[in-house]
Point group: C2
Chain length 344, copies 2
DNA sequence: ACACTGACTGAAACCGGTTTCAATTTTGCG
DNA sequence: CGCAAAATTGAAACCGGTTTCAGTCAGTGT
């Protein structure tokens, strides 16, 4: 190790006890300014860095949080959603002087196993988990492990669980309402039943249709799994139904839908209008650029870290945090609104 | 904590000393099979899990490795390369019972700062770093920190540094040779000068041209930065030069190039053939699917973890590891070979 | 049977901090 | 100025393991 200087050595150099150095280190009160300054000078001069491991053993705090992403192997780093989320959490954690460790669990079985290991390791102050597979089977493990945790996305059984979610229902509602206002009549959707986000988006879509007195037709609902391929297949299945607009529940699936439409010779938005969900970078880069529902992943990550920090500090005392972040419609070419405006 | 059982408790229950339990735990010799079995039974019955922190403090090993990705903020989670690499390292680490912590440094300045912190924390057994910004300015810090480390990609000053790299030169060479063999005469490239991988790919491209007696024309060389946008701009700049084929140094840039070509009304591969590099998922999903040079990111990640583990264990004794992994050409539609075959 | 190995085992030191608690100052006030 | 209360400080215990070292015990060779 590069650092042979210990708290003991600093204490000697500053003519105080380890205890006092520790107090200075942790910004505790009850140290005379004079003494505090002297200790800090020694720390500065020696370049002393406390050994986190020892600190952790003694204080039962590691300043390490785990981000557990459990989803299909293919999925995780295919859909830009997870990388974006990972980056957001990593950055927010760093800003709070927390280290983020990343776990990617590929199969549901693996989740159980590695999660037990993660918890047992006792290394982490807390965990942030993504609510895929609806996340339910993890919850008993987490509860038993008595480890602070926060979900990103609403797990299936969300009772008494802290989570940060996007307002997916509102997302579906905004998207469908927007299409309705633009005058489309046969509005289909490519939904997903993988997790609560998918359910909510679908339910928002249905609500918008219902509120506008439009029939909800099962033939206009395709079910995908967030993959590009499933968007492609979903669109192919919908084509014979002659929809004039489609709400696709994720940008990635929308890219697949775009391909299906191009292959079928349908123009977007002239023949079929599209609104998708997420507003990840590919949405803006698609051809045509996608009108989409923006969920602010950075904020989601930041809130998750923040909330986890609170859980860690306050424990049971913290009132239940179930935070739903707003979403907004981002207007681009794929919904046809811009064209209509231009010709109007 | 869920686990109130300590090594002490196990020792009492098994009627032995902490020392013996520790020996059993670590598979040390000098424990009678009989005793060993008894201890193991108690461990099994109690579900005892050693506290890693304590173990680490005593043994100076954390079983945590850091993956440090330093690149432009936008870049890191935009190009699927990094997510793929992250996943590969995370998985390989997990297989070796190592925890991977992820650090994303956005600016070069930030690298220096956070790297010092990371090293000083003393939390990590070793680091895997990506060689962006050519990675040079990190090396002195790492050396001073006396922390085991391995690069993925070849840093600018690679003397005496362990690294795992793809055979990028061969990648550029294979791509260009392939296009030459298909009969293209005006073969352009969209290269990158960001890191050694970019340099090498360009140099392989040049070598192939030279070996086939073709002139190397600077007007046919555009410089990008691995982003989709830079591929788009690069292609636009090249179009007036009328290339009949382009080697694009990354899949992501190739997607940008595709868009530029589509906008210009040029068909791929009929008017302009494309070969790209990396073979990430989007390459297969592009329209048309991209012929590309496959680098096996999973293997790269696995070798990096493996090598780092060796460095950690053997230290100076380990001979210099500079591993170059082979690449291969993946044939798809964008190069025109399939069409030519069909019509032949 | 006897000294002599070498395999087992446990006591205690140690890793480098934090935290408790009692001792020692200081400070505040009457 | 004197005394109780509050603020400082340091000694020692503790976190939960690993490792050193010396002692114990069984197995050998003679």
């Amino acid at each position: 190790m590069s650092n042979k200087i210990t708290i003991q050595r600093v204490a000697e150099l500053a003519n105080v006890s380890k205890s006092t150095v520790s107090r200075v280190l942790n910004n505790y009160p009850h140290v005379r300014p004079h003494v505090r300054a002297r200790v800090q000078r020694v720390i500065g001069e020696t370049g002393y860095q406390p050994n986190n491991i020892a600190r952790l053993l003694a204080s039962d705090r590691s300043s390490i949080i785990g981000l557990v992403i459990s989803s299909d192997a293919q999925m995780v780093f295919r859909d830009p959603y997870f990388p974006a989320l990972t980056e957001a959490v990593s950055t927010s954690a760093a800003a709070k002087d927390l280290v983020m460790a990343l776990f990617v669990s590929h199969s549901e079985k693996q989740v159980r196993h590695s999660l037990s290991g993660i918890i047992a390791a006792g290394l982490f102050d807390g965990l942030i988990l993504t609510a895929d597979f609806k996340g339910d089977e993890m919850i008993p493990l987490l509860r038993a492990g008595e480890i602070p945790f926060v979900f990103i996305g609403r797990p299936g059984a969300a009772d008494g669980i802290h989570y940060i979610d996007a307002d997916n229902r509102q997302g579906g509602y905004l998207a469908a309402s927007h299409l309705i206002k633009l005058g489309y009549r046969r509005i289909a959707t490519i939904a997903s039943a993988q997790n609560s986000a998918g359910d909510d988006r679908l339910s928002g879509y249905k609500q918008a249709l219902a509120e506008h007195g439009m029939p909800i037709c099962d033939a206009l609902i395709a079910i995908g799994d967030y993959s590009l391929g499933s968007g492609y297949r979903g669109m192919k299945a919908l084509l014979p139904r002659q929809p004039d607009a489609v709400f696709v529940a994720s940008d990635t699936m929308a890219l697949g839908a775009l391909r299906a439409l191009r292959e079928a010779g349908r123009r977007v938005p002239a023949d079929v209008a599209l609104v998708s969900h997420d507003d990840l970078p590919p949405a803006a880069q698609a051809d045509p650029p996608l009108t989409t529902i923006r969920q602010t992943i950075n904020k989601t990550g930041a809130r998750a870290v923040e909330t986890l920090a609170q859980v860690i500090n306050e424990g049971e005392a913290l009132p239940l945090q179930q935070i739903v972040l707003p979403v907004e419609l981002v207007l681009r070419a794929s919904c046809g609104a811009l064209q209509k405006q231009a010709t109007a």
